[in-house]
Amino acid sequence: MMWAKIFYAFLALLGGIAYGLFLGGVSRKITARMQNRRGPTIWQNFIDLWKLFRKKTAISHGVMFYLAPMFRLVGGAGTFLLVPIVVGSPYLSNFSFGGDLIVLMYFMVLGCLGMALGAAESGHPHAPIGVTRGLSQMAGYELPFVISVVVLMVADKTTSIEGIVRAQQGGILHWHLFTHPFAAAAAFISLLGMMGSYPFQVVLAPQEIAIGPPTEYSSTFLSYMFSGRSVFAVAKYLLFMNLFLGGASNLLWAFVKTFVIFLWPLFITNVFPRFRLEQSVLFFWTWPSLLGLIDLVRIYLVR
């Protein structure tokens, strides 16, 4: 039983990485079309990954630098595997027995932390600048996100993701998107920060600090980080699907719902300029947090 679980989870992981790469390609395509360019093929990210993976040489700046891509990949994969794709399905539940939403929220950080440390060991000043920005921005979007997560936990009297999904069964109007619209709004705005879309694109900030943390990474190292990043993004889409869109009853639904979620930051990112870090933090601590608070107070009163 255990080995079967591991096998299915491994398959799901490969699928997750592929899906993440695919979504990356789609986003490049859509962005290009919005800017009236042809853009690369939607398979471009697969090509890039293969190219990076097959590079002949690479440089290293030390132990932590060397280990960071592993942290990134395992952190991303772990996050992905803690989220069930289809609740109740023996094949698509991943390793969700490993922990609940609280576990997930802390496990998510592991990969980021490892990568941050590796990047910082590179000795390139842009890396820690990007990392500190990323962490600060995280402190920003975490507030509205936590508020909405607490709303769900208290409303459903559970901290497990399956429990939250089960609480949304019975029709579209049972989705938390509709039962707790303000909390959902808060969470979806924080998703913009999590995904680093404009105007919250302060971490990689291409024109300012090159690409921030991964500046010094190349070659096979980068391919690992690339995969980790892709699957990490998918994990977040899946999480949002489970939290607010009622989860998925089969793979197709999972595909549709996550795709919709994926489009939201993508559309925003293409029409906004970039905030400064403090503007970003303060934005998250005000509007989305206030939205979330509305539902939090509501849940506190009706509890």
Binding site: S60, M64, A116, H124, S136, V150, K157, T159
Partner: protein
Amino acid sequence: MVNPIIIIGVTLASAFFIGILQVYNRIWARVFFFLTLAFDFLVSGLNFYGFITGKIAKPILVKIGGFPPPIGINLLVGKAEAALGFLIFTIALLGAIHWFVRGLPQPEGKALILFLLLSLGATGISFTGDFFNLFVFVEITSIAAYGLVASSKDERALEAAFKYMVIGSISSTFILLGVVFLYKATGSLNMLDIAGKLAGGISSAVLALITLMILAGLLIELEVFPVNGWALDVYQGADPVVVALLAGAAVKAFYLVFVKTAHYLPLFSFFHLALLFGGMTYLVSQFFAWRQRDVRRLLGYSSVAQLGLLILAAGFFLNPSFSSSSRLMMGLAMVLLVFNHSFAKSSLFLLADNVKEREIDGWRGVLASNPVFKFSFSTSVFSIAGVPPFPGFWAKILLIFAIPRNYSWVVGLVLLGALAEVVYYFRFYRIASEGEGKKVGRNLASPLISSLILIASVPVVWGMFTDKIHIPVKPEILLLLGISLLVYFLGASRLLQWIASLGVLVYGIYSLYPHIKPDLHGFFLALVLFGGAVLLLATYPGSKKLSSSFYPAYLVVLFSMAGLVLSTTWLSVFVFWEIMSWASFLLINMGKGKKAAWIYAVFSAAGAYAMLGGIYLLPSLSLAPGKFYGLLPAVLISLAFLVKMATSPLHIWARDAYGESPDEFTPLLSGIMSKMGVFGSGLVFLYVLTALSGAGFRYLLGWAGALTAFFMTLLAVFQDDLKKLLAYSSVGQVGYILIGLSLFTPLGWNAALYHTVNHFIFKGLLFVAAAGIIYRVGTSYLPHMGGLIRRMPLTFFATLLAIIALAGIPPLSGFAAKWLLYSALIEKGWIFITVVAFLASTLAFLYCFKILHAVFLGQLQEENENVKEAPWPIALVEVILLIPLGVLGAFPNLLLNPINKVLSGIPGMENPGFHYHKALGIVSKLGHWNAFFLMVFFVGSFLLALVFFALTSARIRKVGQLDVGYSGEVPRTPQDLHFGYGLYDHFRRAVKWLIYPLVSKIWRGIYEWIGAFAEMGRRIYTGDVNTYAAYVILISIIILYAFTGVK
């Protein structure tokens, strides 16, 4: 038994003889003077010894000339009188020694005569059994004192002597008039005789008036507010030896006769008189000293305050409506207070003679210069300020518990004054211990006095411990505390001290091990003993200089914590709490932050006194669940614990006290000592509050914990000093523990106790690692480090894992506490606190990265090129502490099981609120978490990825630290590239409004405002003798109208 008249006769005779002798031979006059005092000392000592051993059973009655009492003058010497006589001559002898060491005042002969007369007069005052004779001795004392004060060359002294003379004459006149009228009214002058006559119930307004006249005269001599301006001027101006004799001894004689008079003539409400004047004098003077810059005047205020306290105590002692047991306790407190004050204060005045500067700022560096000076100064200051183990500490406890419940406001007043005393005495101590060495004069008497205080403390401690302190392991703890002090004598070698301390601790573990039982006490005892042993191991990084009192103090802190957690009554909690606090004060004061130590002392004392007040309000001292006795005791007792946990807004001492204490001590301070606050708060929740009654208070504390966690974390983000950053972080983490405790649910307490241990592991590890880093790099300033991963790989690895645990990221041990805490919070429905706690823990990632980056990553600076790995004891401790960090990460139940065993003994917590499931791991009502799976998954897949990577990766070339892709530039120095300064400046712009130092500004404001009020109040001492005389008239009128029937 020696006839007391011999003392008086011999002294008087030799005073006359010296007058003649010194004309012919000065040397022989000095010898004769000294011999006289030595004789008096011996004789009075013999009598005192006779009394305390019981050889002299009855008071000695001396009929002068053989005439029986009503007609003849007589001396009546009981236990108290004999003690006081001994005290007077001890101090006189020590004063004389000081004179010989320092040089005698001029004109020498007159000074010697007057000195003898002063001691003689004071002795007479206490010995006499006759009111008129009392007046005679008062005159002798006063005139000798005027002369001695004036004999100093200082013009301040001359002026002071004049004021003293004017006011003293008024006082004597009051006494004389009172005595005359008393004779007219009763036909007798003999104290006992009059007391006998009045016992029949004769009472009239006239008699009350008479008594009041005598008492008013004595009150002036006892320097009550506001008729004490003269005394302060005398203390400030006169020769310190004279002041020592006056304040240390002569005034006590006045006090004794004051008490006796009030006892023999019980004609009106002496209680209220004592309450009014004693209380007012005590409180006002303690606060007037708040900002006093002149050392001698500061000591003067303190003396006046102590007298006020004694007068207050006398009021309770003599009030027949209180129970005899509490009056007896008060009497004991009075004896201890007199002893404590007389010796400590005279020692301080003599020390003041050794420092040329009168201004307090001139005392900078005096402690660094001279160990003997340091010893006597510290002992005297500590005993006056009521620090354990000195008699002043026990006196305070006795005094407070002797006050009946319906006068609990007096307890508040006494404690408030005691706090003010700590504020100014320890400001004084701080200034004296700051700075480099400064030459001070020679002093023999003060060290003698200090040794005397120390020796006297032993029986007092012994007596108190046998009588009042209740722990199951009294002899063991006392023995361990005693041995700990002995480690001091190995001070020559730090290595030897280290080994000896480890030995003592191992013995401690051996003797206390049976008491590690599955309850709250045993749980914390295990933490103290085993945690302490590990941290003690790390205190030996090689050759650095360390004070030889470091290890004794360290061990005292450890064993007082052991005593604390084993306490079975609140009183022993308080006693061990104070021992721990002051020993840790000494340790912090060994670091570079003397001001930090002072603030720590003040906050600790405030907390401890609040606790004492709270304990006083409890009807029973035992630690047992009871009824709910109102919120006030709970709040007061909690304050002490909240201070130690540095809960906002009581946190402002923590940053510098942690940051600037010796690196060897900080791990203990953060890892274990702060947990005593956790233990104490647990006791409050269990034994002072009940599950129902404390709900609101606990919710408030929950918020306090959450806000502490949030704000301290935020402040840590912007801190650029490694240890201060860790300090803020530590305080913030303890905030989480407080949240867990406040929840008061099984899940919450699981979280709190788990985090207590886990916080010790990772924060102990971090502070130990910090000690190693600072030891090697020589700075704790983060921007000056960087890239040390290449030089200290082990320390990096340890720090990394500790940080992961701190941040609460699975799969290491830190996550358990987070998971339990959030589950408990949501289960309880404290959802707003949940959000704040969550946000705070996200903010913690910011400083976690900062520590790792600024110290270990980025560019290695040129000056750190030759840095080596941490010294082996530190490296060893790092490795030791890493083990539980990983093991508990995979198997949290190894700690949760014992915790639940502890909790199962607590009513209402028998059910832990979660259970184990084979697949899901730990399952609560809300969710689940499989720690073992996560560990296996993470480690397994990490290794898998690593192997795969190593097999498939490109050819990897290691490059130099400057080889980065930097826009085509070629950077030349690490400084060009290292990003270490202003790491979170961008974030600071976002949260500027949140980190405004509001709390410290408020505390500072309170301090300044009290000082300003004190300054303003002190203006009533105009320095003009006319005003002083006017005050005398004023209080006479007040006494007349308030305390007699006269209209």
